[in-house]
Symmetry: C2
Subunit: 119 residues, 2 copies
Protein backbone atom coordinates (compact mmCIF):
# COMPACT_ATOMS: atom_id res chain seq x y z
CA UNK A 1 0.00 0.00 0.00
CA UNK A 2 2.62 2.48 -1.02
CA UNK A 3 1.34 4.31 -4.10
CA UNK A 4 -1.64 6.60 -4.24
CA UNK A 5 -3.64 4.41 -6.60
CA UNK A 6 -3.45 1.57 -4.09
CA UNK A 7 -4.52 3.87 -1.29
CA UNK A 8 -7.50 5.18 -3.25
CA UNK A 9 -8.75 1.76 -4.35
CA UNK A 10 -8.19 0.40 -0.88
CA UNK A 11 -10.05 3.31 0.72
CA UNK A 12 -13.07 2.76 -1.52
CA UNK A 13 -13.08 -0.99 -0.94
CA UNK A 14 -14.93 -0.39 2.33
CA UNK A 15 -18.73 0.06 2.04
CA UNK A 16 -18.89 2.44 5.00
CA UNK A 17 -16.22 4.66 3.47
CA UNK A 18 -17.96 4.59 0.09
CA UNK A 19 -21.15 5.66 1.80
CA UNK A 20 -19.31 8.51 3.49
CA UNK A 21 -17.99 9.65 0.13
CA UNK A 22 -21.52 9.47 -1.26
CA UNK A 23 -22.79 11.66 1.54
CA UNK A 24 -19.89 14.07 1.31
CA UNK A 25 -20.65 14.54 -2.37
CA UNK A 26 -23.86 16.21 -1.22
CA UNK A 27 -22.45 18.34 1.58
CA UNK A 28 -19.46 18.77 3.84
CA UNK A 29 -19.92 17.35 7.32
CA UNK A 30 -18.31 17.00 10.73
CA UNK A 31 -17.20 13.72 12.25
CA UNK A 32 -20.11 13.29 14.67
CA UNK A 33 -22.53 14.17 11.94
CA UNK A 34 -20.95 11.59 9.65
CA UNK A 35 -20.88 8.94 12.33
CA UNK A 36 -24.55 9.29 13.21
CA UNK A 37 -26.10 6.80 10.73
CA UNK A 38 -23.55 4.04 11.35
CA UNK A 39 -23.60 1.54 14.15
CA UNK A 40 -20.00 2.13 15.16
CA UNK A 41 -18.14 4.45 17.51
CA UNK A 42 -17.12 7.97 16.54
CA UNK A 43 -13.51 6.88 16.86
CA UNK A 44 -13.98 4.25 14.19
CA UNK A 45 -15.42 6.88 11.86
CA UNK A 46 -12.48 9.14 12.64
CA UNK A 47 -10.18 6.32 11.55
CA UNK A 48 -12.13 5.87 8.32
CA UNK A 49 -11.74 9.55 7.62
CA UNK A 50 -8.01 9.31 8.17
CA UNK A 51 -7.87 6.59 5.53
CA UNK A 52 -9.89 8.71 3.09
CA UNK A 53 -7.68 11.69 3.82
CA UNK A 54 -4.45 9.78 3.26
CA UNK A 55 -5.87 8.61 -0.06
CA UNK A 56 -6.43 12.24 -0.99
CA UNK A 57 -10.16 11.73 -1.31
CA UNK A 58 -10.98 14.15 1.45
CA UNK A 59 -9.61 17.28 3.11
CA UNK A 60 -10.33 18.86 6.46
CA UNK A 61 -10.48 22.42 7.64
CA UNK A 62 -11.09 23.85 11.06
CA UNK A 63 -14.19 25.70 12.15
CA UNK A 64 -14.32 26.29 15.90
CA UNK A 65 -14.00 22.84 17.52
CA UNK A 66 -15.37 21.21 14.41
CA UNK A 67 -13.23 19.68 11.65
CA UNK A 68 -15.49 19.77 8.59
CA UNK A 69 -14.72 17.12 6.02
CA UNK A 70 -14.68 18.07 2.36
CA UNK A 71 -14.68 15.73 -0.64
CA UNK A 72 -11.83 16.21 -3.12
CA UNK A 73 -13.02 15.05 -6.52
CA UNK A 74 -9.71 15.32 -8.40
CA UNK A 75 -8.38 11.97 -7.20
CA UNK A 76 -11.20 10.26 -9.01
CA UNK A 77 -9.42 11.12 -12.23
CA UNK A 78 -6.49 8.97 -11.21
CA UNK A 79 -8.76 5.96 -11.03
CA UNK A 80 -10.80 6.62 -14.14
CA UNK A 81 -7.61 7.13 -16.13
CA UNK A 82 -6.22 3.81 -14.97
CA UNK A 83 -9.48 1.98 -15.56
CA UNK A 84 -10.17 3.50 -18.96
CA UNK A 85 -6.69 2.72 -20.17
CA UNK A 86 -6.98 -1.01 -19.66
CA UNK A 87 -10.63 -1.19 -20.51
CA UNK A 88 -9.89 0.39 -23.86
CA UNK A 89 -6.93 -1.90 -24.39
CA UNK A 90 -9.03 -4.97 -23.62
CA UNK A 91 -11.85 -3.80 -25.86
CA UNK A 92 -9.43 -3.02 -28.65
CA UNK A 93 -8.08 -6.54 -28.38
CA UNK A 94 -11.61 -7.86 -28.47
CA UNK A 95 -12.32 -5.84 -31.59
CA UNK A 96 -9.23 -7.24 -33.30
CA UNK A 97 -10.29 -10.76 -32.35
CA UNK A 98 -13.64 -10.12 -33.95
CA UNK A 99 -11.86 -8.99 -37.10
CA UNK A 100 -9.81 -12.16 -37.17
CA UNK A 101 -12.88 -14.31 -36.68
CA UNK A 102 -14.74 -12.38 -39.35
CA UNK A 103 -11.83 -12.80 -41.72
CA UNK A 104 -11.66 -16.51 -41.00
CA UNK A 105 -15.33 -16.64 -41.80
CA UNK A 106 -15.05 -14.90 -45.16
CA UNK A 107 -12.09 -16.89 -46.42
CA UNK A 108 -13.97 -20.16 -46.03
CA UNK A 109 -11.35 -22.26 -47.72
CA UNK A 110 -10.55 -25.98 -47.40
CA UNK A 111 -6.95 -25.15 -46.46
CA UNK A 112 -8.05 -23.09 -43.45
CA UNK A 113 -6.30 -24.46 -40.37
CA UNK A 114 -9.06 -25.14 -37.82
CA UNK A 115 -7.16 -27.82 -35.95
CA UNK A 116 -5.59 -25.50 -33.39
CA UNK A 117 -8.89 -24.84 -31.68
CA UNK A 118 -9.04 -21.13 -32.36
CA UNK A 119 -12.78 -21.05 -31.63
Amino acid sequence: MDDQLSRVFSALADPTRRDMVARLAVADAGVNELAEPYDVSVQAVSKHLKVLEEAGLVSRSRQAQRRPVHLEAEVFDLMTKWIERYRRQAEERYRRLDDVLAEMDTEKDPRTDTARGAS
Copy 2:
Protein backbone atom coordinates in the same frame (compact mmCIF):
# COMPACT_ATOMS: atom_id res chain seq x y z
CA MET B 1 -16.41 -7.38 1.65
CA ASP B 2 -19.82 -8.61 0.65
CA ASP B 3 -20.88 -6.66 -2.44
CA GLN B 4 -19.24 -6.76 -5.83
CA LEU B 5 -18.11 -3.15 -5.78
CA SER B 6 -16.14 -3.82 -2.61
CA ARG B 7 -14.61 -6.91 -4.14
CA VAL B 8 -13.57 -5.04 -7.29
CA PHE B 9 -12.04 -2.08 -5.48
CA SER B 10 -10.34 -4.38 -3.02
CA ALA B 11 -8.95 -6.54 -5.82
CA LEU B 12 -7.44 -3.53 -7.56
CA ALA B 13 -5.98 -2.13 -4.34
CA ASP B 14 -3.05 -4.52 -4.74
CA PRO B 15 -0.24 -3.37 -7.08
CA THR B 16 0.62 -6.90 -8.17
CA ARG B 17 -2.98 -7.58 -9.12
CA ARG B 18 -3.21 -4.27 -10.98
CA ASP B 19 -0.11 -5.22 -12.91
CA MET B 20 -1.65 -8.56 -13.78
CA VAL B 21 -4.74 -6.80 -15.08
CA ALA B 22 -2.51 -4.51 -17.13
CA ARG B 23 -0.76 -7.48 -18.67
CA LEU B 24 -3.98 -9.37 -19.25
CA ALA B 25 -5.32 -6.38 -21.13
CA VAL B 26 -2.65 -7.17 -23.73
CA ALA B 27 -3.08 -10.92 -23.91
CA ASP B 28 -4.54 -13.92 -22.07
CA ALA B 29 -2.00 -15.89 -20.07
CA GLY B 30 -1.52 -18.98 -17.94
CA VAL B 31 -0.66 -18.92 -14.25
CA ASN B 32 3.02 -19.80 -14.58
CA GLU B 33 3.38 -17.29 -17.36
CA LEU B 34 1.75 -14.62 -15.20
CA ALA B 35 3.85 -15.51 -12.17
CA GLU B 36 7.13 -15.30 -14.02
CA PRO B 37 7.96 -11.56 -13.54
CA TYR B 38 7.05 -11.46 -9.85
CA ASP B 39 9.24 -12.50 -6.99
CA VAL B 40 6.61 -14.70 -5.36
CA SER B 41 5.53 -18.31 -5.54
CA VAL B 42 3.11 -19.60 -8.18
CA GLN B 43 0.66 -20.38 -5.39
CA ALA B 44 0.59 -16.75 -4.35
CA VAL B 45 -0.21 -15.74 -7.92
CA SER B 46 -2.91 -18.38 -8.03
CA LYS B 47 -4.46 -16.78 -4.95
CA HIS B 48 -4.31 -13.35 -6.56
CA LEU B 49 -6.11 -14.74 -9.57
CA LYS B 50 -8.80 -16.19 -7.35
CA VAL B 51 -9.38 -12.73 -5.90
CA LEU B 52 -9.59 -11.20 -9.38
CA GLU B 53 -11.95 -13.96 -10.48
CA GLU B 54 -14.26 -13.52 -7.50
CA ALA B 55 -14.38 -9.82 -8.28
CA GLY B 56 -15.50 -10.71 -11.80
CA LEU B 57 -12.46 -9.06 -13.33
CA VAL B 58 -11.16 -12.26 -14.83
CA SER B 59 -12.43 -15.57 -16.16
CA ARG B 60 -10.68 -18.86 -16.75
CA SER B 61 -11.10 -21.57 -19.32
CA ARG B 62 -9.38 -24.89 -19.71
CA GLN B 63 -6.92 -25.78 -22.43
CA ALA B 64 -5.13 -29.06 -21.77
CA GLN B 65 -3.47 -28.71 -18.36
CA ARG B 66 -3.40 -24.95 -18.71
CA ARG B 67 -6.03 -22.60 -17.25
CA PRO B 68 -5.73 -19.48 -19.41
CA VAL B 69 -6.80 -16.29 -17.66
CA HIS B 70 -8.93 -13.80 -19.57
CA LEU B 71 -9.69 -10.22 -18.59
CA GLU B 72 -13.38 -9.31 -18.36
CA ALA B 73 -13.73 -5.60 -19.04
CA GLU B 74 -17.43 -5.23 -18.23
CA VAL B 75 -16.90 -4.96 -14.47
CA PHE B 76 -14.98 -1.76 -15.02
CA ASP B 77 -18.30 -0.13 -15.85
CA LEU B 78 -19.50 -0.79 -12.33
CA MET B 79 -16.64 1.25 -10.95
CA THR B 80 -16.72 4.08 -13.46
CA LYS B 81 -20.45 4.45 -12.92
CA TRP B 82 -19.98 4.75 -9.17
CA ILE B 83 -17.05 7.11 -9.50
CA GLU B 84 -18.64 9.33 -12.13
CA ARG B 85 -21.83 9.63 -10.15
CA TYR B 86 -20.22 11.15 -7.11
CA ARG B 87 -17.60 13.06 -9.01
CA ARG B 88 -20.34 14.77 -10.98
CA GLN B 89 -22.30 15.42 -7.83
CA ALA B 90 -19.28 16.97 -6.13
CA GLU B 91 -18.44 19.08 -9.16
CA GLU B 92 -22.02 20.22 -9.46
CA ARG B 93 -21.91 21.31 -5.86
CA TYR B 94 -18.66 23.13 -6.55
CA ARG B 95 -20.22 24.89 -9.51
CA ARG B 96 -23.13 26.08 -7.38
CA LEU B 97 -20.71 27.34 -4.76
CA ASP B 98 -18.94 29.34 -7.44
CA ASP B 99 -22.27 30.81 -8.44
CA VAL B 100 -22.94 31.86 -4.88
CA LEU B 101 -19.50 33.42 -4.54
CA ALA B 102 -19.88 35.18 -7.87
CA GLU B 103 -23.24 36.52 -6.81
CA MET B 104 -21.82 37.73 -3.52
CA ASP B 105 -19.14 39.45 -5.52
CA THR B 106 -21.52 41.25 -7.89
CA GLU B 107 -23.81 42.51 -5.17
CA LYS B 108 -20.94 44.36 -3.52
CA ASP B 109 -23.07 46.18 -1.06
CA PRO B 110 -22.31 47.57 2.40
CA ARG B 111 -24.95 45.27 3.87
CA THR B 112 -23.15 42.18 2.52
CA ASP B 113 -22.43 39.87 5.44
CA THR B 114 -18.75 38.99 5.22
CA ALA B 115 -18.33 38.31 8.92
CA ARG B 116 -19.13 34.59 8.71
CA GLY B 117 -15.81 33.82 7.02
CA ALA B 118 -17.24 32.36 3.82
CA SER B 119 -13.88 32.66 2.04
